[in-house]
Structure formats: structure tokens, C-alpha cells
């Protein structure tokens, strides 16, 4: 069983909601990432999604776009992101790491070469925003061969029939995008999320985590009641971006404080 599945199953058996957090590797500067990752774990994060910066992040709102731009200004790449994972694994062997990004850097790296290098670096899964199941076959083969989970998005516009098909390709967990739009948008509607998740019903045994637009403990709590976990990203990236001129310790602490608040709200569920 993959590290992602173990962690999510364990949380479920404890009646605990999973907290997944997204930060962009190298944002606002490369040295900030590693201490922030460790702080996230310390504050009760179950899975870390590490954003791989891309020049054209089509599905991101302005906050995460700027995170990508800040990281790219420091020449952060997919390769250097694997380095960060390797460093992280020196002291943490239990927190799953998921890379989240776009197809082109992975394609440039080479699917097979990437899958091997990522597994070696201690990465557990990959979420490529712009690789739907129809286009993923070759990459999936490489990920499967290296034991990496392939995580897919489900959207408010996804039909039940299609959701079943996506679920049949997925492993690790299913990521439900809580709104029509880009990351960090401001129009999350808890009732609509519930209606859609009810419509999907039980697609597979895979846990479902919900993200996009979850910015505060109260929303996180309300959404968590409907799913196995929540994903929080933009609110962290926004904080990190606003502290570009501050020390990595201060950045890690500030992000940790936000996440700690959300963790406490989830444990209250």
C-alpha cells in the first residue's frame, strides 16, 4: 500500500479528517520551502502537495500564479523540486509528498526518467492539472512501474459517468475541485459541494479530498464534514508571497500558524 493510502486510511480509522496543503516549491525563495514543509507536518498536515512552478499555470488564480513567477525568478525547476523532496526525506519518512503541476515540465524530463527519479527522491504521487485520463496512458504506465500514485481532479462539471472513469484511473485519493474556476477563487458554496458529492456517490474506495477556495478554519470544517479531507493552498501561498523579504523561520512560523488553526477546526469535526 502506498504511503498516501496508508496515511489516509489511518486518518479515517481514527475518525480524523485529512489535511492536505499546497505550497509552491521555491516560493518566495528556495530556502523557505524545506523549513515550511517541516512546520506543516508539525502543525498536523497529513499530505504535502509541492507545486512545481510552470511558466503558464493555466488553472491557477492570481495568488498561485504569482507564487510560480516568484519561484521561476529563482530558476526553480522540476529537477530542483526533486532535490527538495530528497532533503525532506532525510528527516521525514512518513509524510506523503505529492507533486502538483503541469504536463510540460514532466514531458520535457521524460515520463519514465521522471517516474524513476521521483520515486527515488521519495515522492509518492503526481497530480498533473492538464493531463486528463484520455491523455495520461503513457505517463500512468511509468508512474505505476515506479509505484507512484496518479491523482486526478474531479470538477463540478464532471458527469457521474465520467467521474467513474476518472476514478478507475486514479490512485491515492480523488481531488474534488470545489468550484468552477481557478485556485483561490472566492465563491465556494458548501451546499453545492455537498450536492455534487452526493450525486457522485461512492465512486471507489479511494478517499476524496476537496480543495480550491478553502481559506479559513470555518470553511475547512464545513467542507471536511462532506469528505475525507481538505486541500488548502492559496491562503498559504498568499502569506508566503507577502513575506518574501523575511527569514525562512518567520515564513515557516506564519504558515504554520494558519495551518494550525485549520487543523484544530478539523479536529473539532
Amino acid at each position: 500500500m502506498s504511503r498516501i493510502s496508508q496515511v489516509l486510511n489511518h486518518a479515517k480509522s481514527q475518525g480524523r479528517k485529512a489535511l492536505v496543503t499546497y505550497i509552491v516549491n521555491g516560493d518566495p525563495y528556495p530556502a523557505a520551502t524545506l523549513p515550511t514543509m517541516h512546520k506543516l507536518v508539525e502543525q498536523g498536515v497529513d499530505i504535502i502537495e509541492l507545486g512545481v512552478p510552470f511558466s503558464d499555470p493555466m488553472a491557477e488564480g492570481p495568488v498561485i500564479q504569482q507564487g510560480h513567477e516568484r519561484a521561476l525568478a529563482h530558476h526553480v525547476s522540476l529537477k530542483s523540486t526533486l532535490e527538495v523532496a530528497r532533503e525532506f526525506r532525510k528527516t521525514n519518512n512518513h509524510t506523503p509528498l505529492v507533486l502538483m503541476g503541469y504536463a510540460n515540465p514532466v514531458e520535457r524530463f521524460g515520463y519514465e526518467a521522471f517516474a524513476k527519479a521521483a520515486a527515488e527522491a521519495g515522492i509518492d504521487g503526481l497530480l498533473t492539472v492538464d493531463l486528463p485520463p484520455e491523455e495520461v496512458a503513457v505517463l500512468k504506465e511509468a508512474l505505476d512501474a515506479s509505484g507512484l500514485d496518479n491523482i486526478f481532479l474531479l470538477a463540478p462539471t464532471t458527469t457521474v459517468e465520467r467521474a467513474r472513469k476518472i476514478a478507475s484511473h486514479a490512485s491515492g485519493f480523488l481531488y474534488y475541485v470545489s468550484l468552477k474556476g481557478v485556485t483561490g477563487a472566492g465563491h465556494l458554496d458548501v451546499t453545492a459541494v455537498k450536492a455534487k458529492l452526493d450525486e457522485f456517490g461512492q465512486l471507489t474506495d479511494l478517499p476524496v479530498c476537496v480543495g480550491f477556495g478553502i481559506k479559513d478554519p470555518a470553511t475547512a470544517k464545513a467542507i471536511a464534514a462532506l469528505a475525507d479531507g481538505v486541500v488548502v493552498g492559496s491562503v498559504l501561498v498568499e502569506k508566503m508571497g507577502s513575506m518574501a523579504d523575511q527569514s525562512q523561520e518567520k515564513i515557516a512560523q506564519a504558515v504554520g500558524d494558519i495551518v494550525g488553526g485549520i487543523r484544530r477546526a478539523l479536529d473539532d469535526c
Binding site: P57, N104, R108, E134, K180, G181, V182
Partner: protein
């Protein structure tokens, strides 16, 4: 020969080994290129568009409405003009210009926006969005939106807003909102990112009118089909006027919609050579260009797999061209495939060469071409003298140069 034109076609079709009409396949692939590389939210909208287009593309009523608009609103057919003086001067092949510059709104772009606006009407969506580089597609979209009473927002790179101020104002006069995009390289690719984000957010009531033969399936197919009127007309006109098929076709390629529009109806005519002209910018060797088919590698951007300009980490790099409409790091997937199979040759033309052709054709023929089209004309300057006088070149004069006057004046150091 004119009378036997039809027979020539069928002969060529038999001898051709590739059935070009079978591309893209159901998944939107042209060989390894094309496809649908978008976030999950947009899949439903693409499925919906694909279903509508599959139903309407062979529907005689839809085609009749499209043809009627092209005739009475756009002013088609556009002339195929024999550039006699320029031909004499170059001393080689006879040069014919397909006059897309004479279309309503001044470029080939309107052929496609008319078609997509008809599709939008069938979806019942009340809002259209578009991305634009030079502003020609933005103007063409704002135009059809005005005519149909649709709300319209056009995304345009902030740098392009500056260098194409005339078109920006035209769009505003037409009632469109022009949204300057300040992210990334502030040009066409960033405008397209922003349009995709808008579409994902407003997918229920918004129709995205993509301006070129790129993007996720079915856009490369439907934009090609709408633009193929250029080649169908040019083929019939050449047979009627010259009594035979042309020997060579030349068109500029940014995303590649005017080129595919001209080329596609000729693909099975094996005697017809085709040249797609990319923006060589300051020179291919300088790295400051927009010529992915000459210097790029296959990758994934804006919903399709195609040749791209990118660095060793797969990041898309900034492009350079004197013409905003060619300043794009990708290209339509069908062009990538036509390059690989060798059916079309793709060549670069530098800024300087394009500007020289702009001046030359303006002075020699009294036709002021767009800087985009001037790239194609600059290649004609090289190609025509290598061909014999009984041979024929058709160059696509895809747009008129009025919009570029301030750019050219600026290069001349003149404030207009």
C-alpha cells in the same frame, strides 16, 4: 487544363496515401499532436462543443447560414489578385495574392469568428470571450458579438495593448471590454492563459472563441474548417483564372489559422508545394524569434501537444517578432504533424525581411499588407526568382497593414 481541374483532383486523391480529412481522429489527435490537455473543469465544455460541432458541421442549414454570412457580411469570395508588377520585378513565378485583407474587419480572422459565433448561438450562451495578439482576432470577435448582441471580453497581453492601440480602440468602439493581461510575458500566450481561466470560471454562460488552430480539441479542427474557405476559393479561382493549379502556396504561421485555411483544401494535390513562414524575429540564431517549427520541440501548452519554444526545464520561453500576431511560442498541432510528415515546409523570415517586403508590396502593388502577412510575402521574394515564369505561387495576404502603421512609423523614427 481549366476544364479538367476536377479530374486532376480525383487523380491526385487516388495517388495520395494519406486521407487528410480523417484528421484529427475522434480524440483530436493529428498523429502525436493535438488532443485535449486541459483541467477537468473544461472537459464538459469541450465535450459539449464537440457534440454541437459534430452535429452542425455537415448540416446543410448551418452551412448555408455560414455561407450567407460570409457572402453578405464578410464580403466573400475575396479576390485572387495577380500581382503583375511585382511578378515582373522578381522575374520568376507568377504571383497571386489571396486578398483576405479585403474581408470585413481587414483580415482572415473574421471567417472563424463568424463560424464560432453561429456555434455560440446554438449553445445559447450570452457571453463570448477571446484572446488576441495583434488585435485582429479581438476585433473580429468584438464585431460578431456586436452584431449578435453578445457580451464580449477580449484578453490581450499588456505589451500588445500598447503596440496595437488602434485595434484596442476599435474593440472598445464595438462595445467589447479589453482586458490587459499583465502576467507572464504579457503577450498572446498569457492572454490565452487568462481566457482559459475565465472560461473555467464562467463555463456555464460563456463561449470561448479561440482565434487560431490551436487549443484543445475540437478547436484546431473547427477553426481549420471555418478558415478552409480561403483555400477552397483560391483553388477554384486559380483554376478559373490561370487554368491550372498553383505550384506553391505561401502563408505566414503564428498559430497558423490563415495558413491551414489556405493549405488544407490543397493537401491532396501532390503537385502543390506549401511553405509556412514563421517569424524569425532578430534571426533564428539569436534565439529571439517565434519559430517553434524551426527551432522548437514537441510539448504541451494551451490544451494541445505541439511544437513549442521552451527551455531545458520545459518552461515556455518568451518569443520575439515585430508582428504581434506571430509572437506566440506554440503553433497549431496540425502544422506540427504536417511538418513531421513533410507535406509542408516551414521556413523562418526575420523582422527586417518582413519589413522590406511590407514596403516593397506597398510601393509596387499599392497594397499595404499586415506585418504578419509580410512574412509570407518576404518568402515569396526569395521563392519566386527560383521558379520558372509559367509556374504559379499563391501567397495568402491574410490581413491589411493599417493597424501596423504606427509600428512601422516608430521603426522609421517618425511620430504620426
Amino acid at each position: 487544363m481549366a476544364q479538367t481541374g476536377e479530374e486532376t483532383v480525383s487523380e491526385n486523391k487516388q495517388s495520395s496515401t494519406i486521407d487528410y480529412s480523417a484528421f484529427p481522429n475522434a480524440e483530436g489527435h493529428f498523429g502525436p499532436y493535438g488532443g485535449r490537455f486541459v483541467s477537468e473543469t473544461l472537459i464538459y465544455a469541450l465535450d459539449e462543443l464537440n457534440a454541437i460541432y459534430s452535429r452542425l458541421k455537415d448540416d446543410p442549414d448551418f452551412q448555408a447560414e455560414f455561407d450567407k454570412d460570409l457572402a453578405h457580411y464578410v464580403g466573400r469570395p475575396s479576390p485572387l489578385y495577380f500581382a503583375e508588377r511585382w511578378t515582373r520585378e522578381l522575374g520568376g513565378a507568377q504571383i497571386y495574392l489571396k486578398r483576405e485583407d479585403l474581408n470585413h474587419t481587414g483580415a482572415h480572422k473574421v471567417n472563424n469568428t463568424i463560424g464560432q459565433a453561429l456555434l455560440a448561438k446554438f449553445t445559447g450562451k450570452g457571453r463570448v470571450i477571446a484572446e488576441t495578439g495583434a488585435g485582429q482576432h479581438g476585433v473580429a470577435t468584438a464585431t460578431v458579438a456586436a452584431r449578435l448582441g453578445l457580451k464580449c471580453r477580449v484578453y490581450m497581453g499588456a505589451d500588445d495593448v500598447k503596440r496595437q492601440s488602434l485595434n484596442v480602440y476599435r474593440m472598445k468602439l464595438l462595445g467589447a471590454e479589453v482586458f490587459p493581461v499583465t502576467s507572464g510575458s504579457r503577450t498572446l500566450k498569457d492572454a490565452m492563459n487568462e481566457a482559459m481561466r475565465d472560461w473555467a470560471t464562467n463555463v456555464d454562460d460563456t463561449f470561448y472563441i479561440i482565434g487560431t488552430v490551436a487549443g484543445p480539441h475540437p478547436y484546431p479542427q473547427l477553426v481549420r474548417d471555418f478558415q478552409a474557405v480561403i483555400g477552397r476559393e483560391a483553388r477554384a479561382q486559380c483554376l478559373a483564372q490561370a487554368g491550372k493549379l498553383p505550384d506553391a502556396l505561401v502563408a505566414c504561421v503564428g498559430g497558423g489559422s490563415n495558413a491551414i485555411g489556405l493549405f488544407h483544401p490543397f493537401l491532396t494535390d501532390e503537385s502543390v508545394s506549401m511553405y509556412g513562414v514563421e517569424a524569425g524575429g532578430l534571426g533564428i540564431e539569436t534565439g529571439k524569434h517565434a519559430a517553434p517549427l524551426n527551432k522548437g520541440v514537441p510539448g504541451v501548452l494551451h490544451g494541445n501537444r505541439t511544437y513549442l519554444m521552451e527551455d531545458e526545464n520545459g518552461q515556455i520561453i518568451e518569443t520575439h517578432s515585430v508582428s504581434a500576431g506571430l509572437d506566440y511560442p506554440g503553433v497549431g498541432p496540425e502544422h506540427s504533424w504536417l511538418k513531421d510528415i513533410g507535406r509542408v515546409k516551414y521556413v523562418p523570415i526575420n523582422d527586417d525581411e518582413a519589413l522590406a517586403a511590407f514596403r516593397k508590396v506597398t510601393r509596387t502593388e499599392g497594397i499595404m499588407p499586415a506585418l504578419e502577412s509580410s512574412h509570407a510575402l518576404a518568402y515569396v521574394e526569395k521563392l519566386a526568382p527560383t521558379m520558372s515564369k509559367d509556374q504559379i505561387i499563391i501567397a495568402n495576404l491574410s490581413g491589411r497593414g493599417d493597424k501596423d502603421i504606427l509600428t512601422v512609423a516608430g521603426i522609421d523614427g517618425i511620430t504620426v
